[in-house]
Symmetry: C2
Subunit: 338 residues, 2 copies
């Protein structure tokens, strides 16, 4: 019933052994310790309700069993599954996750990297969605913390691995499907095009057209942001430009929602008049009217694999690997295509 937490020292005193002994027992490094003292110590620790102080422990072991997760915005439906995957894997291995929202703001990212290295996290999972050009991460360079990148590519010596998705192939599959279903004039409403992601998806779009001998026209492509408002506006713009089309391939599902909303307002029927394919497969896409055909990203798996990779790196300090995991997308066929 003491007020201060019980320490190893007090247990040692009560059990009439040394702190070293107690420590070994509590950490299962007790091969050489007699069952008698072992049980005695364990009993006392239990009774006194001993809780180890990880600060003290980390100070000497130099590991915190904590990893940082930096992402733009947990409120964006793209990220919760990544976070969940990461947390699940971390939790399995008895690691904890500190999570940070940057709003795609470089200053914030710098700040968080600083904080995380001060907190001595063992590693960082870094999901930086929007491309911010080639800025160098000064905090990252100061820090020696190993980093696993999600979704984007950086050059940095702390980067020990990347987990990405084959975006080119993903959009190739989506667009090919549209063509296969008889659609011929396919708009591409992209997100922010500075993004490598968006570029890769554009490449996949082009390749699908090419392989099907459909001419690629710049007038059919517009890029904006990854928000549903942009999809809504984009359709408006295409209509104003008197562009005619029978399908829309969208940079993500949110954009697709906007596209569909606007088209409904114009009385365009989906999928009969126009087919729509999204990208991501966020959880509501199946509930929309019509349910959205989309290229699913394995978000949960990305988070999970990223942590898995990090733990591997942590356990093989020696070999300085920079592993790259490329995950496949999956076409989810629903009702927005015929």
């Amino acid at each position: 019933m003491g007020d201060k937490p019980v320490t190893i020292k007090e247990i040692a005193r009560e059990a009439e052994v040394s702190t070293a002994t107690v420590s070994m027992i509590l950490n299962n490094k007790d091969k050489s310790i007699s069952a008698a003292t072992r049980n005695k110590v364990l009993a006392i620790a239990g009774k006194r309700n001993y809780i180890p102080n990880t600060m003290a422990r980390s100070l000497v072991t130099r590991q915190t069993r904590t990893i940082g997760l930096i992402m733009p915005d947990i409120t964006n439906p793209f990220f919760p599954e990544i976070a969940r995957g990461a947390e699940d894997k971390a939790s399995e291995a008895r690691y904890s996750i500190i999570f940070c929202n940057t709003d795609d703001n470089l200053k914030q990212e710098e700040k968080y990297i600083e904080i995380l290295t001060e907190k001595m996290v063992d590693g960082i999972i870094f999901a930086h969605a929007a491309d911010s050009g080639e800025e160098s991460f000064t905090s990252l360079n100061k820090s020696k913390t190993p980093v696993i990148l999600i979704d984007r590519d950086y050059k940095n010596e702390n980067v020990k691995g990347r987990v990405m998705v084959d975006n080119e192939k993903g959009s190739y599959t989506g667009v090919s499907y549209l063509i296969q279903k008889g659609y011929r004039t396919i708009l591409y409403v992209a997100g922010a095009i500075i993004t490598q992601t968006a570029k890769d998806r554009l490449a996949g779009y082009k390749r699908a057209l090419q392989e099907n001998h459909i001419e690629w026209k710049e007038s059919l492509v517009k890029s904006g942001s990854y928000r549903s408002e942009w999809g809504y506006q984009a359709v408006e713009q295409f209509m104003n430009d008197h562009v005619s089309f029978d399908a829309v391939f969208c940079g993500n599902d949110l954009i697709a929602f906007g596209v569909i909303k606007k088209m409904k307002e114009f009385g365009i029927r989906i999928p009969d008049d126009v087919g729509v394919v999204g990208f991501d497969d966020i959880y509501v896409s199946s509930m929309m009217e019509p349910a959205l055909t989309t290229v699913k990203q394995p978000n949960y798996e990305m988070g999970y694999r990223a942590v898995e990779l990090l733990l591997e790196v942590l356990n093989n300090k020696n070999d300085n690997l920079d592993r790259k995991i490329v995950l496949n997308t999956e076409l989810i066929i629903r009702k927005s295509t015929r």
Copy 2:
């Protein structure tokens, strides 16, 4: 260019002062220190790229500037905004957040509370959605960590505050609005009814009917889970029971989506034949067809206020308050009601 991180001791040596002096300067407790030594130390710390070791610091100060956030599932659209609000406030105050997903599993909760107290978090924000009865939290009792509850009520001496929503009033407002718009036979498709939340909402539903002299019938109320599948099934069940109705008040937005989907399949027009009101206002509710009229919960604010409250508690160790903050809901009128 050394390999090990620079310590205060090395800086002290290089600056030819004591570690105490360096520590004071680095912590802005340097009222009494000459500008000369001050600048010298700061310069060296900058050049050598000093990063404080928070393990060591926390060991003596007994605070980690870290707080735990326990919630059922970040993947559930209800929670990301809470998490975001919490993180924003924490970040403002230079606190970090460790986040934990319990899947409404009591074992998990216990485990996380244990881990968090081992990690010596300064406090815990606890968002426990589904009611798990009156189970006692043994880990919580062992731990002395202050806890702020979100959304649910527990009795526990570690609970130093609660942030909740006035559910009774919320559903009262929603149902009153339906009545005001001329709807008369209003179903209530509730979530899990063991939940206090669901009970309070039921109470609000009844009060609205009563005040408008509409008889309450048990046959108009069904409870299931907070998932869209349940909304879908519920409508089916009501139809099978040959219950006629002209409005549906839903336990949350997800349920409303399911309800709407099923009704569309039956060719029921919304809002003309039947009006629908949801609860929560998750981010897609405005994008649905028709856009959903719903009782908005201030999720972001709940997270934000919870951390705010926790920080207050942390700064007033002396008075043993248990503050309760009750936030108001807001009726968001869109197109699923006439």
